[in-house]
Amino acid sequence: MKATCWRGRKKVRVENVPDPEILNANDAIVRITSTAICGSDLHLYNGFVPSMRSGDILGHEFMGEVVEVGKSVNNLKVGDRVVVPFPIACGNCTPCLNGMYSLCENSNPNAWMAEKLWGHSPCGIFGYSHLLGGYPGGQAEYARVPFADVGPLKVPEELSDEQVLMLADIFPTGYMGAEMCDIKPGDVIAVWGAGPVGQFAIASAYMLGAERVIAIDRFPYRLNMAKEKSGADTLNYEEVNVLEALKEMTGGRGPDGCIDAVGMEAHGHGPIYAYDRAKQAVRMETDRPIALREAITACRNGGTVSVMGVYGGFIDKFPMGSVMNRSLTIRAGQCHVQRYLQPLLDRIQKGEIDPSFVITHRMKLDDAAEGYDTFLKKQDECMKVVLTA
């Protein structure tokens, strides 16, 4: 089958690889009809995630038709149309039973690696390095889906692929980011990063009752989308001083909730950005936390900073003083997608939101390399690239 293979920094190639096979009795094989490129795939593409091997198959946002099931699979049958969540979760360990699916204790066979880096291991993830299990990803024609009873969501015929594909990752991720802010009536939420996840965080914040949502980015087309599709206020950080603007827009208080939908490859200005880039270049700092620092500093006293942007290692110059002295709450996590699938599908079916609004580029799987390049360089007002077989 064809699959998008990582071949080094800034190099992906669609190649012919063997088809997946059932390995465990809980597996299913899915023939993929649509798959997307995620902002976190760009961290892999740019070489920031350790433990990638040349030839690894990428992709963790995919959906399609079940073509084979292992003998222990009960909830799915051949022919079902499903969206597959990106965290792999067994459904039986304590975190899974508590709804924290991205903390599954059983789905990362390489847990020892993650433990060394992070203390304990989170779940395994499709197509996201050997550190997180070494599972082949879904930017391919077929994928093996472990724990098929727990993850995949059956989707109705009347919704198109484009309408539901975002349930695999970015819609629940944005939603969880907003949910973690504990939004109360009257709250103002600021979202750093108006990429696809940011767009869903913004939309979700309104869904959850925010009074006002402010999108922060430097690309006018991304800010425009936030304004037009969700009604957000916008700030271009290359034109205004964000901290001052936020204070003015919130009566001097600061936003009640600050969502970091940027992560480790943040872009910024000035000496602190140069500092971060220099340290990262010599690998003395693994991540660039520019957006995170700003989100913390801007947040009102007693507010919540909600971190959905992906970080991998260690950051420098973290404003801990600001956090501690001002009673801030920091919440973070890889999205526990499984627990949001049905509720968010319900909202889509009720017409509350059509997640396909973020899709700007539609390509064939064969053109994945071009898709990565366009997405990385934000060419052609690229927001989200979807690949079809």
């Binding site: 088809d19 997946p20 390995l23 009795a25 091997r53 066979p109 020892w112 299990g133």
Partner: protein
């Protein structure tokens, strides 16, 4: 044990011959570059020790006595790098020390830049030169980190030879691990008490045959098919609390194990504390033990206990295509995980 411990090739040794030849050439030229850099270090070090004043003038620094002493110290360090590398030119770690030295040089030079008494032009030139050499150092270190088939190993230091010698020296593999399993104490105890279940998740065990209510016959198997066998007896058995066992006197392998069970707080299930020890008397089978467990013996056993939790909570050992016992391979349709559980 799938994957093949110790061999440098993944996926069962089907790497093509010309790939192997090519990568040997790469390793050779990487080592030659390392040696050249080592001699450069030694030469520079000698110059720094014997003629610090001239050298200082060359790079644009005013050569007070303090500066000359710093230069001499740097010279000694350079010679140290050179000698270390020449002793083992294939070692990436030793070459990385040069990179550390370059970073130090750069910071000293940039401090010197701040002072107007120094000739900035020459200093800039010196910094450029150091950066150039540093680039070579980094490149070569990375080249040396790759093993014979062009892959970067996760732990390049752990060669087969070093593990065998380490294990033979230590002569024992000891693992203590605690985990929480979301199953009632009685269920976890009963599962472990039937030793015939152990090979279901302990990768190095081929079989455990229960002879009577105290004795059992254990068979462990290495990746190349070699086997080690011993008899064991249960020393203590408190249902729901504790099981202890050990190999009989005169066994080729000295093996002791104990597992303790305790109800975890809340509804979290059972806390299981496992202690395992494998030893080879008189170094006789030290090498064989290394073979059994692969490159990282303690890690292997810890992974097995992780597998124990998976079996109890999900019914099977969770594998992925990219995780065949420490080797990083990833193509779909590698040998199915279930093979090893027979």
């Amino acid at each position: 044990m799938e994957g093949g411990m110790g061999t440098q090739y993944s996926g069962g040794g089907h790497q093509r011959n010309d790939e192997r030849r090519g990568s040997r050439r790469e390793t050779k030229s990487a080592r030659q570059l390392a040696k050249a850099l080592a001699w450069f270090s030694i030469g520079l070090g000698i110059a720094e020790i014997l003629a610090p004043k001239k050298l200082a003038g060359l790079i644009g620094i005013r050569a007070g006595s303090g500066t000359r002493n710093v230069l001499r110290a740097m010279g000694a360090r350079e010679i140290g790098h050179g000698v270390l590398i020449l002793m083992q030119p294939g070692s990436a770690a030793r070459l990385w020390t040069r990179v550390g030295g370059d970073v130090l040089d750069l910071s000293l030079l940039s401090t010197a830049m701040a002072s107007t008494r120094n000739e900035r032009g020459r200093l800039a030139g010196a910094m450029a030169a150091v950066l150039g050499v540093a680039a070579l150092d980094v490149y070569d270190s990375l080249q040396l980190s790759r093993n014979g088939n062009g892959r970067i190993e996760p732990s390049p230091r752990l060669t087969t030879r070093s593990i065998i010698s380490r294990v033979s020296e230590a002569r024992a593999i000891e693992v203590n691990k605690t985990l929480t399993i979301r199953r009632p104490v009685q269920e976890v105890y009963t599962f472990w008490r039937d030793f015939q279940n152990l090979p279901r998740f302990m990768n190095h065990l081929e079989s455990v045959e229960v002879v009577d209510d105290r004795r059992s016959h254990w068979k462990a198997r290495g990746p190349a098919g070699q086997t080690v066998e011993w008899d064991a007896e249960i020393v203590a058995d408190v249902p729901g609390e504790r099981i202890e066992w050990r190999s009989l006197e005169g066994s080729d392998v000295e093996h002791t194990g104990s597992v303790r069970f305790k109800t975890a707080p809340g509804e979290r299930g059972t806390e299981v504390h496992v202690e395992l020890r494998y030893d080879a008397p008189a170094g006789k089978l030290g090498a064989a033990l290394a073979m059994l467990f692969g490159e990282e013996p303690r890690q292997q056993v810890q992974d097995d206990l992780h597998a124990f939790k998976q079996v109890m909570e999900t019914g099977e050992v969770v594998r992925s295509e990219g995780t065949m016992k420490g080797r990083f391979i990833q193509h779909p349709a590698q040998r199915p995980a279930t093979e090893s559980l027979q």
